[in-house]
């Protein structure tokens, strides 16, 4: 249970970073922390203490295996997170070229 709570705290730290920080890079770091927390949570769902790798060879007994499906999901989710982070950083670099700052209070050409 404590693991899930730590996971929740990590998620909240990431969300705090996204919502409260003014620097674009810090916002991106916040997003990364949030997606790590999500990935951790997903993989924890399938985890068992003292469980073993889910390899279904014929002479093995199937007791106490970890659930392999969340691991597959986490792989996909990590790749998506990577793509998203790359895109965000690319946009942030272009913004720095145009505005000369990472401060979101100064990046305010759009209003209304």
């Amino acid at each position: 249970m404590i693991l899930y709570l730590l996971c929740l705290i990590l998620f909240c730290i990431g969300l705090y970073g996204i919502l409260r920080k003014r620097n674009l890079v810090k916002i991106i770091i916040g997003f990364s922390i949030m997606s790590y927390a999500l990935n951790l949570f997903l993989v924890l769902l399938g985890y068992k203490f003292h469980g073993r790798a889910p390899i279904g060879a014929s002479d093995q007994n199937f007791a106490n295996m970890v659930d392999p499906l969340p691991q597959a999901l986490v792989h996909t989710s990590i790749v998506i997170g990577l793509g998203m982070t790359a895109l965000l950083i690319a946009i942030a670099i272009r913004i720095y070229e145009k505005y000369g700052t990472f401060d979101i209070t100064k990046i305010n050409k759009l209003k209304g």
């Binding site: 674009l24 916002i27 998506i80 998203m84 895109l87």
Partner: protein, 503 residues
């Protein structure tokens, strides 16, 4: 059942086109890039009508394609039922016209292959979200469509576009995070990811506190994607900064498939309908249409005004769904249909106005009607359809929603819907007055009408707007009533899919 393999084409065609475009686009001339993209969109349109036809002939009105031959609870499956085929026809119709429009809208030759690569990635995602029968697969397609749309919003990489894209991306990331969290909770609760299987498991389980919590996560996540009012702040920036043809896709199709369709599919067909969700939908819908109606009035940027009006129209759809009666849901789906067509038309005309007048501020343009009669006519058709003037489709959809409201006794909501419609009408009349009527300014004497392909798309969409009301005649109404029937069927969905898969 070999004949239903064509279902995969909805993902294969756009994905293949995107791949080919990124591979050979750099070396091929502009003409081949255009031909390839239009052909691919046309074939998608054909396949979606084929699916509609095929579905009507099939008993039970449901098709299930098992990827790799794995049976549903284990493998991923594609499901085409009436709601799906309704969305597919809509998405691919809009995509086809937007694609034809973009062929001459994208100015630089170097940009065209990149633009169409991203466009087809987005189309892959949208089609995938609509046809998939697996919850995690839905998330993956949703991300594919979203990432492509983030990049497309920043496509011209001007300062405003980058700023809008960054906001949009961050908010989209948070939304996806909530959706993924919801999916993780559902997986641990039901030990399955297949939507049909999940629905039949949830039907037998007693609902604890998990389901309402997950439903909240999904309403937040998909509400952010659909830009319902408390979650709407990103939409006016993103939709007004994107290239016009992409704004048309975003406002016309993306927020409706990624937001509304996915939310309805999960809440109605997996969770089952609960009055609490319905009243929440109605409240959010009315809030959206009133707030955005007021905000739209004060806008002077044409695309920003249209974007605010999009939020309000999404509010109508959600309001209609929230009424929960067959008539209300029919009205909501018809409104979804006609709003997709008319709002993409309006954004396309805004693109041709921008191209001619080189500004989007409606105070600085006037009297464009003389110089651009076709654009003016198309814009008039779109505006009248969005604001609900009788012969156009928008009138009938709003009428149905309001009548459904009154039938159920929600008089205040009906009144709010009428008020929202008045706001929209005022905003649209403002557009007509400032842009098209009045005299042409001197410095605007030399502007030209849009090229032929752009005119073609706008005129076709305008005609669809004009005659959309005819689709409600008894012979074609079944297109909408069947789709509404899927939502009303609720938890039957799981049953039907598993049965069809077992055949």
């Amino acid at each position: 059942m070999g004949s239903i393999n064509f279902i995969t084409l909805f993902v294969v065609i756009p994905l293949g086109t995107a791949f080919l475009m990124s591979l050979v686009g750099r070396f091929a001339s502009r003409r081949y890039v255009s031909i390839l993209s239009v052909l691919s969109c046309a074939s998608l349109l054909f396949v979606s009508f084929w699916a509609l036809q095929f579905l009507n002939k099939t008993a039970g009105n449901i098709l299930v394609y098992k990827i790799g031959g794995w049976m549903p609870p284990f493998g991923i499956c594609f499901v085409v039922d009436s709601l799906t085929s309704f969305m597919l026809v809509l998405v691919n119709t809009v995509a086809f016209f937007v694609c034809v429009y973009s062929v001459s809208y994208v100015k630089k030759n170097d940009d065209a292959p990149k633009f169409f690569t991203l466009f087809f990635m987005m189309l892959t995602g949208i089609n995938g979200v609509v046809i998939t029968g697996d919850l995690f697969n839905l998330y993956v397609f949703l991300e594919a469509a979203s990432i492509a749309s983030y990049a497309l919003v920043a496509f011209n990489s001007e300062a405003e576009e980058l700023e809008a894209s960054f906001k949009y991306t961050i908010i989209g990331c948070v939304a996806s995070g909530f959706i993924l969290l919801g999916i993780a909770f559902l997986y641990s609760y039901t030990s399955t990811l297949n939507m049909a299987d999940m629905s039949s498991i949830l039907a037998t389980k007693s609902s604890g506190f998990v389901l309402p919590f997950v439903a909240t996560l999904f309403i937040t996540g998909f509400g952010l994607k659909a830009a319902l009012v408390p979650f709407h702040a990103w939409l006016p920036d993103a939709h007004s900064s994107a290239p016009a043809s992409i704004s048309a896709m975003l406002s016309g199709v993306l927020i409706k498939t990624l937001g509304i369709y996915a939310m309805l599919r999960i809440l109605f067909n997996i969770f089952g309908i609960i009055p609490v969700y319905l009243s929440l939908f109605m409240f959010l819908g009315v809030l959206s249409l009133l707030v955005s109606g007021v905000l739209a009035l004060s806008q002077w940027n044409l695309k920003r005004l249209l974007a605010y009006s999009s939020i309000g129209q999404v509010g109508y759809i959600i309001l209609g769904i929230g009424i929960g009666t067959p008539l209300g849901i029919l009205g909501a789906l018809f409104h979804l249909f006609q709003h997709s067509i008319s709002k993409s038309l309006l954004f396309l005309t805004s693109g041709s106005i921008d191209r001619a007048a080189n500004t989007l501020d409606i105070r600085h343009m006037s009297g464009l009607k003389e110089k651009m009669p076709l654009t003016a006519g198309a814009n008039l058709a779109g505006s009248m359809s969005v604001s609900g003037i009788p012969p156009f489709g928008g009138f009938f959809s709003k009428l149905i929603i309001i009548v459904a409201c009154v039938q159920k006794g929600f008089y205040i909501y009906a009144l709010a819907a009428i008020l929202g419609s008045v706001f929209t009408l005022i905003a649209m009349l403002k557009v007509q007055k400032f842009i098209f009527s009045e005299e042409t300014k001197k410095e605007r004497k030399d502007i030209k009408e849009a090229p032929f392909l752009m005119q073609f798309s706008m005129v076709c969409l305008a005609f669809i707007c004009l005659f959309a009301g005819l689709l409600l005649l008894p012979s074609t109404r079944i297109f909408f009533t069947n789709a509404a029937g899927v939502l009303l069927g609720g938890l039957n969905y799981g049953h039907l899919v598993l049965e069809a898969a077992a055949k």
